[in-house]
Amino acid sequence: MAITINRRRFVLRTLGASLALPGMPSLLAKAAEGNAAIQTTKGAGAGAKRFVAVGNLLGFQQLSFFPETTGRNYETTTLLKPLEANRKDMTIYRGLDHGVKGGHFAVHSFLSGVLNSEAQNRPDGNVSIDQYMADEVGVETRFPSLTVGSEGGIHGGCQIAWTKSGVRVPPVTGPAELFSKLFVGDSEARRVRRVEENKIQASILDTVLEDANRLSKQVNSEDKDKLDEYFSSIRDLEKRLQLRERWTNHPKPGAPFDKPSNTNTVEDLPLLYELIALALQTDSTRIATLEIGGCFLPQNLGIKKAYHGLSHHGNDPETIAHLITLETYQIGEFGKFLTRLSKTQDGEQSLLDSTSVIFGSGMGNGSSHKNSDLPIILAGGDYRHGEFRKAEGSGSGKVPLCNLFLDIAHKMGVETESFGTSTGTFS
């Protein structure tokens, strides 16, 4: 890292001080411009590529979401209305999916293209695009990635982020936890203890590796794969330890406002977006995901029904109206997040230009539990935007959603020929 710790500390404290008012993006943006946490110097994150993905559990009403007319002159549908201000910064896609089935049980393939049940048969398992890229670029930041979401929800919820070994990355579940993770540093005594703990852990890890090496000479043929899994876990942990060592001595950025307490996912949603924006802005991470899952309760928007029950709307107009209310809220908050990023300077460009943002769901038509024809918005990331694009939904010309993910990976500087079920790049 080119800048000194002191310089960084100074900048972050200044940023913290001017961030005293939460929820005021314009102020935040101004502060960042004047005294940018994101340095204009190379290597401190300025202009670095970032990625955010947002997924919900039950999809969006396709009839109210997708426009008819393709190209730049697409009409603003009911659900796209809240995004009108962001029109030039985003593209809407139709016809993209992963070709998987399973209703709720397949929603978790949103960012991977692969069902977890099939993970064992694939070299990279059902790794999701965020974790795939975090493995490559994550070492640059304190957190290789941030996974924000909830444990709850029908059949396990969104379960958006997966590692290569087919393990779900446990989510940070609320603004309070996310805030602590980002801004609350350890006391000096604790820091010293951590340094010591890291050291002991590293030495134990060496010993354990020796034990595993010995075991590998004895185990039966059917056990080899499992032991390999253990070895790769050790390698992964070694990487984690190195990171932890590096960041243990490096202070976290100053807190921009007091620690919030959790209320409920509906009311917390703006705050979660704000914290994710701050995480990007302070270069605490370059990769983040957000699940809008089982904890998003309609009752907090005044609808006394269960979300899942509503999703099977049977074309009942009143039920659909409720769903539109829920979805409009989700899309509206997403729009504000885009605006927030677009007004934040990041080196020569806006933070939105540096960040590829995917928004959508692993569920296509929630009423019939289809995982095809997924609602997909790609925003930011310095693409040519402003269009509604229809991909071939079926037949031989069918384009897998993973092709779009492959484009994103390339944008992030991750060199790979394929990702998930991709057949090539999207463009």
């Binding site: 089935k101 399973g102 977890n116 064992q120 444990e151 709850g152 029908i154 396990g156 590692t163 070994s165 087919g166 393990v167 779900r168 990355v169 446990p170 309070a176 703990e197 002991i200 852990q201 030495s203 134990i204 890890l205 010993t207 354990v208 034990d211 595993a212 010995r214 075991l215 004895q218 039966n220 043929s221 059917e222 056990d223 499992k226 032991l227 899994e229 253990y230 790769s232 876990s233 050790i234 390698r235 992964d236 942990l237 990487k239 984690r240 307490s261 006394k304 029904k305 269960a306 899942h308 029950g309 099977h312 709307h313 049977g314 074309n315 009942d316 038509n365 009423s367 019939s368 539990h369």
Partner: protein
């Protein structure tokens, strides 16, 4: 690792000989022809190599069976023909004689192939301990509960296979998890063995009981914070006084240990004249007070936290403030919190309603917003628990050092001069086998390195313990044998048995039997199985196995809407639901009762709450404190067997609505062991446009009009239709919820018909059909589940021979569950790697 392979050798020879004998069973010459003719006549029209309907073709299939795939096909054809599910209704049907003949021929073919078909797998891959086994193992090694530490709270949720959490292939390890193992070992070892010596201290609290912000105003004005008040049970949506903490003791206890907590408490206004329905609880029951740990650094002190096992519980007298004493284990930094487990449901709402309904009873000035809580507290009869004084003393000294010190280092506690031997002894327990020289070298190396780093001998030993708890020999059941030998060595067998029946490492007696080599003798193995089954700890098997088999683990994952299911929450129904199934299972296991009772029984186990849910007469006589009781339900057509249990009926629905399809699939998978295929690609997705239809049955009839749907649904749906008389949380019903408008509530039609023509009128008759023609299918499924759970792998086609042998033995013994478990665990499948 030195293993006594030789010892098993003679036994494997014996096995080989038996195998050879079965090879001689030859096919009678006409059997291949019978099968060929039958398939050609009734099956190939759809299942030839061109059409391959449902991905099955039998053109290349025939006797003798040549591959594992053939074996699968043969089994499937036998099942389909026996249950008359194939050929489809509209096609030509074979006569009864023809059916029997081809089934006989196929069975002979399967029998003749025994030993000839090579298994592709049928091996348990080295598996790590599942999260619950891991916690249980640590609790055993340290001889104390560890649930107060929440060691696995941040572990990734376990990946299951058919709901079982012991399948080696599915139990993945990641860098993240490995890191968690380190954190966990660190926390456990340091908090339990690295704590400073401390003389007991005492604390006394008589005032300043500040609680939840919203209560502050009223508590100050009513009694100046001199009481800690509990108004509701913790399990509510709109929190208001469900958790009582001690404001002046937020820092918690200075060191992990046993603490005596005394609280002077009184149950207030249990005889209130306010309408009981405002509180949604049973005022005939004495109020309960329980102690749970809290940690102010882990989240809001008056909200639920990740770690809150109930540490102590007591009934609260009504008459006057009474000292109640709890002896509880608290971890360093934890502060005790009080809860009111059977308290009113949602205090916020009940106070508002009291305020509305009884405001005329209050004297003095009443504000425009109504009677305040303070006002109600001063003059009214709001039911609650009131604590006025709290004393804490501890850590209480334990006789002869702490339990974990003795469990880990031996009866003398840690001895610096003998540290290495003590660590070796612990290593042997942790690895569940004698240590090799290499094991010892690693332990000595770690210990030495830490000492060289200027750690005290004790600290060096503690760090070595952490290493042991992170090494693969501890985390994995490796089950290594000579490559061409497949029988488990005695120590692996001991671990497998012990984890199967007690979810923990072998106890001293089992370990001794492994060490002497006796365990590899079938009679000793049987003796050990019998001993475990008779042990009190067998309860853990009932709990853990049912979590998997019936997927009770997921009970509560799809919560029903609170407004329409108050009792489900206020009375914690999921707890009672699970308990019923566990007691039922345990009873059959202990009494060797017939497994047909799982399908139909004239008794079950209920507590007061379930008795009410089931509308049983015992609802009146049972008291909550009596817990569960076996009750006769003779003549009751609404309950009996697993399918009449609210737990099963809830976990097979989604909390909001029921469906004969999802419940049918549940029964098919978990009771009969048949996983229905997912909808094939060509089937049009069921679109939700069902405005005209009022019941799920009508909706299904609409979908099933499509032939390709009907093919599977005619097999699945009959298993679910009979369960429609139960709502999503297991309550009996005869009609569906009333739709909007003037339309009457549609009646439930619980009748069904199987493809075989077996028809039933209602739930009770459905069970009779299952008993009559599917008892052995169920029995085999249960055998497979027990074997999969205990060996850590899913059963494969070649295993079916031994499963058949087990079934024969179980049948001979009147289908006893104990026999089933014993035979399964004594089988070659269980004893092989």
């Amino acid at each position: 690792m030195a293993r006594p392979y030789q010892r098993c050798f003679s036994r494997s020879c014996f096995f080989l000989v038996t195998l050879m004998c079965s090879l001689t069973g030859n096919l009678v010459s006409e059997e291949p022809e019978i099968v060929f003719q039958f398939l050609g006549k009734y099956c190939l029209e759809c299942h030839d190599t061109d059409i391959e309907k449902a991905d099955r073709e039998f053109e290349t299939f025939g006797l003798p069976l040549k591959s594992e795939m053939d074996l699968v096909s043969a089994k499937e054809i036998i099942d389909q023909i026996t249950l008359k599910e194939m050929p489809p209704k509209k096609a030509d049907q074979p006569g009864e004689e023809e059916r029997l003949e081809v089934v006989r021929a196929l069975r002979a073919g399967v029998a003749a192939a025994r030993g000839k078909i090579e298994s592709t797998g049928a091996r348990t891959v080295m598996r790590r301990l599942s999260n619950r086994e891991y916690e249980q193992t640590l609790a055993t090694l340290f001889d104390r509960r560890v649930d107060t530490l929440g060691l696995t709270a941040d572990f990734p949720k376990e990946k299951t296979s058919h709901h079982l959490d012991t399948i080696g292939k599915s139990l993945v390890t990641s860098g993240f998890l490995l890191d968690q193992y380190f954190q966990s070992a660190q926390r456990l070892v340091e908090s339990r063995l690295g704590k400073p010596e401390m003389e007991p201290k005492s604390w006394h609290f008589t005032k300043h009981f500040i609680q939840y912000e919203e209560l502050s105003g009223s508590h100050k004005s009513a009694f100046n914070y001199e009481f800690l008040c509990l108004y509701e049970q913790p399990n509510t949506d709109t929190r208001q006084g469900g958790y009582g903490h001690i404001e002046d003791f937020l820092e918690g206890v200075p060191v992990s240990g046993i603490y005596e907590i005394k609280a002077k408490a009184q149950a207030m206004h249990r005889d209130t004249h306010y309408d009981a329905s405002l509180f949604k609880i049973d005022f005939s029951e004495p109020f309960q007070l329980a102690v749970i740990p809290g940690d102010v650094t882990k989240g809001h002190i008056h909200y639920p936290q990740a770690i809150e096992p109930i540490l102590g519980q007591s009934l609260v007298p009504d008459k006057e403030p009474t000292w109640l004493t709890f002896k509880v284990w608290l971890e360093v930094g934890q502060t005790p919190r009080f809860i009111f487990p059977n308290g009113p449901y949602e205090s916020r709402a009940s106070v508002m309603n009291v305020n509305k309904k009884y405001k005329d009873e209050f004297e003095g000035e009443i504000s425009s917003s109504g009677v305040s809580r303070a006002h109600i507290l001063k003059q009214g009869k709001l039911p609650h628990i009131r604590i006025g004084e709290i004393k804490i003393e501890g850590p209480l000294p334990e006789r002869a050092g702490t339990r974990e010190e003795i469990a880990v280092f031996g009866s003398k506690g840690f001895q610096p001069d003998d540290a290495l031997n003590q660590l070796y002894a612990f290593g042997e327990k942790a690895f569940r086998r004698p240590l090799t020289d290499d094991d010892k070298a690693l332990i000595a190396k770690t210990f030495g390195a830490r000492k060289k780093d200027k750690a005290t001998p004790r600290q060096a030993a503690l760090d070595t313990l952490k290493m042991i708890l992170c090494s693969p020999s501890f985390l994995y059941l490796a089950e290594v044998t000579e490559e061409n030998d497949t029988k488990l060595g005695p120590f692996d067998l001991a671990s497998r048995l012990s984890y199967a029946l007690s979810s923990s490492p072998p106890d001293a007696e089992l370990y001794a039997a492994a060490k002497s080599g006796a365990l590899n003798k079938p009679e000793e193995l049987k003796k050990q199985i019998e001993r475990h089954l008779s042990d009190q700890n067998i309860n853990r098997f009932a709990v853990d196995f049912l979590e998997g088999w019936l997927n009770l683990r997921d009970l509560g994952n799809q919560p029903p809407p609170r407004e329409t299911n108050r009792l489900y929450y206020s009375e914690n129904h999921p707890y009672s639901m699970k308990k019923e199934a566990q007691l039922f299972f345990r009873n059959l296991l202990q009494s060797n009762g017939p497994i047909s009772d799982f399908i139909e029984s004239d008794y079950t186990f209920v507590d007061k709450r379930l008795a009410a849910l089931y509308q049983l007469p015992e609802e009146k006589e049972l008291r909550l404190k009596d817990g569960f009781k076996r009750v006769s339900i003779k003549g009751n057509r609404q309950r009996g067997g697993l399918l009449g249990m609210a737990g099963v009926l809830t976990v097979s629905a989604n909390g909001v609505e029921t469906s004969p399809v999802t419940r049918g699939v549940w029964v098919s998978e978990n009771i009969l062991g048949v996983t229905p295929p997912p909808p094939p690609d060509e089937v049009p997705a069921i679109d939700g446009d069902v405005r005209g239809a009022t019941t799920i049955r009508e909706k299904l009839a609409k979908h099933a009009a499509d032939k390709s749907c009907a093919e599977c649904h005619r097999k699945i749906d009959p298993l679910g239709f009979g369960l429609e008389t139960f709502d999503p949380v297991g309550r009996w019903r005869s009609s569906y919820p009333k739709p909007k408008g003037d339309a009457p509530a549609p009646k439930v039609d619980p009748s069904g018909e199987f493809p075989s023509g077996e028809a039933y009128a209602d739930f009770h008759d459905l069970k009779q059909v299952l008993l009559t023609s599917r008892k052995d299918i169920f029995a085999k499924n249960l055998i497979r589940k027990v074997l999969s759970y205990s060996t850590g792998r899913n059963m494969e086609p070649v295993d079916e021979y031994i499963i058949g042998d087990i079934l024969a033995a179980v049948k001979k013994d009147h289908y006893g569950l104990r026999t089933l478990v014993k035979e399964s665990l004594a089988s070659d499948i269980f004893r092989s790697r």
